[in-house]
Symmetry: C2
């Protein structure tokens, strides 16, 4: 624990851990106390039209209704109007200033003692009665590979002699994923069929994936973005980050091993990806920023286009990430989900700003609602590995579950639940909401 006197100051009053909300359960809520205020798209019970909302405790504040009720003025009103639509792309495009104004105003509306309580109460829905949607239309989805312990662990399985390739410490490695198959938490994922080839087989066969895996990742929502041909320099990169989520990059390891050379993963990933439905803002996570961990002795410094003093000082994030499993048998026996992985975003070798600057460094455009994935974030120690490929060493060491079952890879009916928690001394801890999905049998 850091000494209390050495704690960095909280960014503003919206983070005050003493701040309480009048919304029932908000002050006891692990993920969504008043210090969080994440944005999402939901459909209230009995209604068809999705609209923007803010999670507060076990409730959702309907932004369209609150806007209509006249609760916002100025920059906050502009942001609330943009966030009232059927998707949050226009809101993400606004950038930090209106988003901050809206946060400040929402904090005041929802704080205990607010004179707007009576009006706002009529805009609240119990979250349990609502359906959560994808928060934005995802134009482009790029998955990075910045979890260095994951890259090392996986590299060891695919390339035992050469786990970490020579470019890894120079290039924030990434590739284009499939945006169309990203779904919000709760949508079931069908096990893919594909070409499987065991090393000693003469030819591949087409069959349901036998090595289905999860990947524990941080998702990054892009805000304003850049024009084609106009790179975003490091010093401006954070301006284009509109928020964060959890991302489960489901992976068919057997399909991947056979298909991925020379152009990378394709069908092994594009059958589906799951994200948590709430966009946790950079403002909410501001107290959990930290210096970029020192590179190990002997690692090269980032090239100048990826180097920025402010980013070195506070470009990393300290957020605990967890992956849990709940099998059909565990559900039947009433057992709670079992934790497979506990990691932390501080294990990213490259910061989010470096990912944005690199992505645009050749001129590629990023646009509001684009999604970046961090790649699997594993902690260095066992118990911290973010995928079964790593935990079971490619299926060699099955993991034992409290139900008496074992898992090398995922089975039909298994549910994977990702959770995140940001906490530090002197600040209210916040979470991301669940990123959860269950595996359906192959068609």
């Amino acid at each position: 624990m850091r000494d209390a006197q050495a704690l960095p100051a909280l960014p503003d009053a919206t983070h005050d851990p003493a701040l309480l909300s009048w919304v029932p359960d908000a002050n006891r809520h692990a993920d969504f106390p008043i210090q969080n205020l994440p944005f999402g798209i939901f459909t209230p019970p009995g209604q068809d039209v999705p609209r923007g909302g803010v999670a507060i405790g076990a409730s959702i504040l309907d932004l369209a209704a609150a806007h209509h009720a006249g609760l916002f003025t100025g920059a906050a009103e502009i942001a609330a109007a943009a966030a009232s639509r059927e998707e949050l792309n226009a809101f993400l495009a606004l950038g930090a200033t209106p988003r901050r104004a809206l946060r400040t105003r929402l904090s005041a509306i929802l704080a205990a003692g607010s004179r707007d309580q009576h009006t706002a109460e009529r805009c609240l829905h119990p979250a349990a009665d609502c359906t959560l949607r994808l928060p934005a239309r995802i134009g482009g989805y790029t998955d990075f590979y910045v979890g260095i312990h994951h890259a090392t662990n996986v590299g060891r399985v695919f390339r035992p002699d050469n786990p970490l390739l020579p470019n890894y410490k120079y290039v924030p490695i990434g590739y284009h994923g499939r945006a169309s198959s990203v779904r919000a938490s709760g949508t079931r994922v069908r096990r893919p069929k594909g070409q499987l080839k065991v090393p000693d087989a003469e030819a591949p066969r087409f069959a349901p994936c036998e090595r289905l895996d999860y990947e524990l990742e941080l998702g990054i929502w892009i805000g304003p973005g850049n024009a084609l041909g106009t790179p975003v320099p490091m010093g401006e990169a954070e301006h284009h980050v509109a928020g964060y989520c959890l991302l489960n990059d489901w992976s068919a390891r057997d399909i991947q091993a056979w298909e991925y050379q020379p152009l990378g993963p394709f069908l092994s990933k594009n059958f589906g990806s799951t994200i948590s439905a709430w966009i946790v803002t950079p403002e909410a996570l501001a107290p959990f920023r930290m210096p970029q961990p020192a590179r190990p002795e002997g690692d090269p410094p980032p090239l100048p286009y990826l180097l920025d003093e402010a980013d070195q000082c506070q470009g990393a994030l300290g957020v605990v990430l967890e992956a849990l499993i709940l099998t059909a048998d565990m559900r039947k026996k009433g057992l709670p989900p079992y934790r497979l992985s506990r990691s932390n975003t501080c294990h990213m070798y490259w910061t989010v700003a470096q990912m944005v600057a690199h992505h645009t460094s050749g001129g590629c455009d990023l646009n509001p609602g684009d999604l970046l994935g961090s790649g699997t974030i594993s902690a260095p120690e066992p118990g911290g590995f973010g995928s079964l490929l790593e935990i079971t060493r490619g299926g060699k060491d099955p993991v034992a579950l409290p139900s008496g079952e074992t898992r090398r890879f995922l089975e039909d009916g298994d549910e994977i639940i990702l959770r995140a928690r940001a906490e530090r001394q002197g600040a209210a801890s916040i979470g991301f909401g669940e990123c959860r999905a269950r595996i359906l049998p192959a068609a």
Copy 2:
């Protein structure tokens, strides 16, 4: 030349080579005679709102205006209404039946002797005065690698001992490209900067690409598409193809060589891709279908999910593809573009139907307006190579141009022009229009 009696019959009267149009120049037009009728999005002179149009000779028929003038009924009217909007996604989503009805009706309207000539004349614009746009909002862009001679040639540069990897003849290799940076013909392309590392350098440096290349590809526009989790079987795959274009998949070879392991090309491709602006329909290309070329002796047959009798019989396309260069010096000297590559779509190892079936085989969804690229299509012989990487053997053998210049890779001010021509005895030949763009210096 095939014997005239053995020529396959033309699909319908819209292909009759004797059919003439009343539109000036249409009957002499290399690309857009009345037998073609491709769809696109254009802005007429002095107007702001893009709308759908059909290329006929050197003119564009304004579909919104023609629809408004009452020229369509029934299924053709449904298609014309969908094609009148600012992007063709809704039209692509309709599938073949309304598209065919619209083609039949357009052929009648534009045919010499049509009683609708007077009405339709008022809906024509000179193409030279119009601005062509991207024909659809591209949701997802996937680039394949089905040009087997290209895969072999390139494999030899990157992996001399192992040019064609073991999966190539089983898997239609593809990867997700960047949809946001695809632009219509005519938009200039800025040379990217990126990490370059020559093999004997200790570290990479960040600098303008020194090995900028083009790639000669066929583009495929997706029509109706499929729901996530519901693969498209081979027998239905063609139903989801709404048309074709030319695609220049600009490639930064030096960036690519350093970044592409282990997750594939990223910044080496996503700075920009150029497509021809007209969607040439499957109907227009029907006379140029051909049997899938026999696989070389010893090659494995496609796995059952990629095998279909009709596809074997007529799933391939015979379209001549060309890439030409025009340098700043050639422009100054008034020299015509110089042909670098002359290839043919018959050199695709996998058919378009196989690409669609494979893409969806694990459950991934395709959607109206998605774009597939074939990958570079090289012919086996020199003169048929579809990229400078192949032509100059990785820069070793510069190509001599009529201006007295040489090129290992592209220089600033160079323009690459892709063209396509479908021709066979007994049918009117058609083209795709140009896919052209000029290289701007790095920023």
